[in-house]
């Protein structure tokens, strides 16, 4: 009896939350397909009278969105490669090697998390400005190449790998690099993938740093481009929604493809 009532409440709740979650997305898609008369109708139309897929072509050529997507891919991709590489190396040192001051050094690493990223925004910008890297991929990517959070995540994972395999490799005369590269990394593919997926998404979603680190349209990322489109076509909701849908799609596809990695990160957050 109790469980039946709870089941009904659950169904209603799930339906409500799902509707609230999906409605803005569906409305985004519907508006993207409307024409300017559908949009300005009262009561608001939920569906276009006739779909206008050409909105997408118009919105995506109003600003060089192809270039924006390429820039975002280079930016997020570069950061992912850097973060995975540096995090894995540092995490291996912290999880597996013994050296004096290891725990203290690890704490110093973690202490970076005490400084909100925004505090570093001004000095980091001035540093890349001094290097002449403003409005270049180097400036965009370089500051994000290390993630203390990623080091922490991978260290936790490496600690769960049994040492036996490594010790076997060491007995065979493998150096630390060989152990890291041939034994630990292959065993850590899921953790590396989790970090990669999260880092990619984080960078794709970030607006503030690309906004200050780049100036020209050729160097803009999608989020910045979308915000510029908003400024240029502020009254034209069909184009804005068409561009918004295009910006959401890659992330949603990534999410569905790599869903288990997202969940793994959340479970790490939740369970440990």
């Amino acid at each position: 009896m109790r469980s039946a009532a709870r089941r009904i409440i659950s169904v209603v709740l799930v339906a409500l939350v799902a509707a609230a979650t999906l409605a803005p997305f569906l409305y985004m898609i519907a508006t993207a397909l409307m024409d300017e008369f559908d949009v300005l109708r009262y009561p608001p139309q939920l569906l276009p009278a006739r779909p206008h897929p050409e909105n997408f072509a118009i919105a995506l050529t109003a600003l060089p969105f192809g270039r924006f997507f390429l820039n975002t891919a280079i930016f997020a991709g570069g950061v992912v490669v850097g973060q995975v590489a540096t995090s894995a190396m540092a995490a291996y040192a912290f999880a597996r090697l013994r050296f004096p001051g290891r725990d203290r050094v690890f704490m110093i690493y973690l202490s970076v998390l005490m400084v909100p990223v925004v505090v570093l925004l001004v000095p980091r910008f001035l540093i890349i400005n001094a290097l002449g890297w403003v409005d270049t991929y180097a400036g965009l990517i370089s500051t994000e190449l290390v993630s203390v959070w990623g080091i922490f995540l991978l260290r936790q994972f490496f600690l769960t790998i049994p040492r036996d395999l490594e010790d076997a490799a060491r007995l065979d005369g493998a150096g630390e690099w060989a152990v890291f590269w041939r034994v630990v990394l292959p065993l850590s593919k899921p953790a590396l993938a989790t970090l990669a997926v999260l880092a990619f998404m984080d960078q794709w979603k970030s607006l503030l740093w690309p906004l200050v680190a780049t100036r020209s349209a050729e160097m803009s990322v999608v989020e910045v481009g979308l915000a510029s489109l908003h400024g240029l076509y502020y009254a034209n909701w069909t184009y804005q929604m068409a561009a918004a849908v295009t910006a959401v799609v890659p992330l949603v596809v990534l999410y569905f493809v790599a869903q288990k990695y997202f969940i793994r990160e959340i479970e790490l957050t939740g369970l440990k």
């Binding site: 979650t21 999906l22 540092a90 050094v105 925004v118 690099w177 890291f180 979308l226 939740g270």
Partner: protein, 612 residues
């Protein structure tokens, strides 16, 4: 075998202790000498300017009358209080001391070609222009004063550092704990020594500024005595002290003083032009220049080389006997090198840099970036917009607990209903994984006052339509709703994962004992969920205190600053008003406000690393 090896490490440490102290001494002497050389350069230029004012030109020529120039140059030597050793050349011939060496023709030629100050091996050489300011007809040389090695203050600081260093070096190879303690003491003493050495450099810079102002004042006062009409025009006196400000003043103080003028520090002296007529000569004080902080880093850094070397020697002595540990340490630092280097350059250096920036007026357009003390912070505290944005930031952060309560409630209902959990994971996470700007855009469209979906639903409930984002009363709440919508699914998923860690047996046992649903939640679920809750709260607060995208896209911080938050303020201050110093002070305010929360995150992670 091990005893002589240990001795080697120990004596190496001893040498390093002495060497680092010597390096600091050499640095102080070089920096003080640099201040003296700068002073000599300026005194030479001032004297050249002075001579150009007081020496009469020869008839029909812009060049000076040699006998007059000779008299004026000789008079300088006897000027009371004018201490700088000087020589004046006409062409290449020395005037003040007739027996002095003439200027080398090559040097004079260089002076003419560059028409700017040159330095010879020991002296600073300023060009002496003719009355038209056109051609270089001579030169003024000034010799920097000799600099002392150490002040009593630095000596006092160096002795304990040397003693502590000797003790630490002697402890190398002894018990690890004792050695570590000795190195810690040494590091403390060395830091004090480095600070004292920096104090010497600063004092030398201050002294050079004071003496420069004193000399410039003397020359000005002498100039108005010799050429009385100069006293009526301050601008006519300007060539004596280029790069300074000369203005009417009322102070009659004889000693130089420091003051803040328009937010920048200034060193000033009073110049007596005539009875009852005073002017004020102001210059940027050398000790207030931005690069002084660099000297602080250099002296303290060099002083700390000693303790570092001793610690290294202690470790080396220990590790030399254990090659495996040595190999592992080297490998570990190899693995850490990329991230350590990056953190140094892009995290720790920026932290120091932001502190530095916050006490300077720093813009991209103006190359002058003077030290302004706490003026930026004063501005922050007195800026009503800062308080408004801080209040909005705090109110906005309330969206985190609100969505946490909602998501925890939903998670409790859905717990252990596997179909719901699966669905939740698929659908509810969508806002969290989507483009933030795109989500802001669709919400702005739904909030549209005339054609938006939300106002349609609102008025169908019989309520009056609201301009959600356009009215100062609702804009912040409207943005918070978006934020709750984005966070909800993510937090729910985290809580669902956390709830799996609550053993059903506990809950069943409590139920058997007659505990109500609320009691079971309050006494069992919530305590067991505490780490998860804390983690969601802390990371959520850190994120929401740094919210920017919604404000940038939805409201531009408006209307009437109703959604102005700290990060938006920082962005505007730095990238629209180009005030990077002020923006740095603002970001330090954010740092202070958030410190409790970020520290909690640090502690959580630090604790968690133990049981992994």
């Amino acid at each position: 075998m091990s005893a002589p090896a240990g001795g080697r490490w120990r004596s190496g440490a001893g040498i390093a202790v002495v060497a680092s102290s010597v390096l600091v001494l050499v640095t102080v002497r070089w920096a003080s000498g640099r201040a003296e050389r700068g002073l000599a350069r300026r005194v030479a230029a001032a004297t050249a300017g002075y001579l150009a004012l007081v020496a009469r030109p020869a008839r029909g020529s812009a060049d000076y009358d040699l006998s007059r120039l000779l008299i004026e140059a000789r008079a300088l030597d006897g000027l009371p209080g004018f201490a700088a050793p000087l020589e004046v050349f006409h062409g290449t011939a020395p005037l003040v001391h007739a027996t002095a060496r003439p200027l080398s023709p090559a040097l004079f030629d260089r002076l003419r070609r560059h028409a700017a100050a040159q330095s010879t091996g020991s002296a600073a050489l300023a060009p002496l222009f003719d009355r038209d300011g056109w051609d270089v007809v001579g030169a003024v040389a000034a010799w920097p004063a000799r600099t002392a090695w150490l002040s009593w203050r630095s000596t006092l600081a160096m002795l304990p550092s040397l003693v502590a260093g000797a003790l630490a070096a002697a402890a190398v190879g002894g018990a690890a704990g004792r050695s570590r303690r000795a190195v810690t003491w040494f590091a403390g003493a060395a830091t004090v020594f480095g600070l004292a050495a920096y104090g010497d450099i600063r004092a030398a810079a201050r002294d050079a500024t004071d003496r420069w102002l004193g000399d410039a004042r003397l020359l000005m006062q002498e100039a108005v005595v010799r050429v009385p009409e100069l006293r009526w025009s301050l601008s006519a006196l300007a060539p004596i002290a280029r790069g300074t400000e000369l203005m009417p003043g009322d102070s009659e103080a004889s000693a130089p003083w420091r003051q803040i003028v328009a937010g920048t520090p200034r060193a000033a002296v009073a110049v007596r032009l005539a009875p009852g007529r005073w002017a004020e000569l102001r210059a940027a004080p050398e000790e207030g220049e931005g690069w002084m902080a660099g000297w602080l880093a250099v002296t303290v850094g060099l002083a700390l080389l000693g303790p570092l070397a001793v610690a290294f020697a202690a470790w080396g002595e220990h590790a030399a006997a254990r090659p495996r540990q040595l190999r592992e340490t080297v490998a570990a630092w190899g693995f850490l090198a990329p991230s350590a280097l990056h953190l140094g350059v892009f995290s720790f250096a920026p932290i120091l840099f932001v502190l530095y920036l916050s006490v300077h007026r720093w813009t991209l357009v103006d190359p002058a970036r003077p030290f302004v003390g706490l003026a930026n912070f004063e501005g922050v505290v007195h800026d009503p917009l800062v308080w408004v944005s801080l209040r909005h930031t705090v109110v906005y952060a309330l969206s985190v607990p609100v969505s946490m309560i909602l998501s925890l409630g939903a998670a409790l209902v859905l717990n252990r209903q596997s179909w719901a959990v699966r669905l939740a994971r698929t659908v509810f996470l969508l806002p969290y994984v989507s483009s933030v700007v795109a989500i802001a855009l669709v919400w702005e469209w739904m909030y549209h006052p005339d054609f938006g979906l939300i106002n349609y639903l609102w008025s169908s409930l019989g309520l009056r339509p609201v301009d959600w984002l356009g009215s100062p009363r609702t804009a912040l709440v409207a943005v918070m709703i978006v934020s709750v919508w984005v966070q909800l699914g993510y937090q729910m998923t985290v809580f669902l994962a956390g709830l799996q860690g609550v053993p059903q047996a506990y809950l069943d046992a409590a139920r058997v004992d007659g505990a109500s649903a609320w009691q079971r939640f309050r006494r069992i679920t919530l305590p067991l969920l505490r780490p998860v809750t804390l983690f969601v709260l802390v990371t959520g607060l850190i994120g929401s205190f740094q919210v920017f995208t919604y404000m940038y896209v939805l409201t531009d911080g408006g209307p009437l600053h109703a959604t102005d938050v700290l990060v938006y303020r920082i962005y505007q201050t730095a990238w629209q008003f180009l005030q990077f110093g002020y923006a740095s002070a603002l970001s330090l305010l954010l740092f202070v406000v958030l410190f409790g929360v970020t520290r909690a995150q640090f502690m959580l992670l630090g604790k968690r690393q133990d049981y992994a």
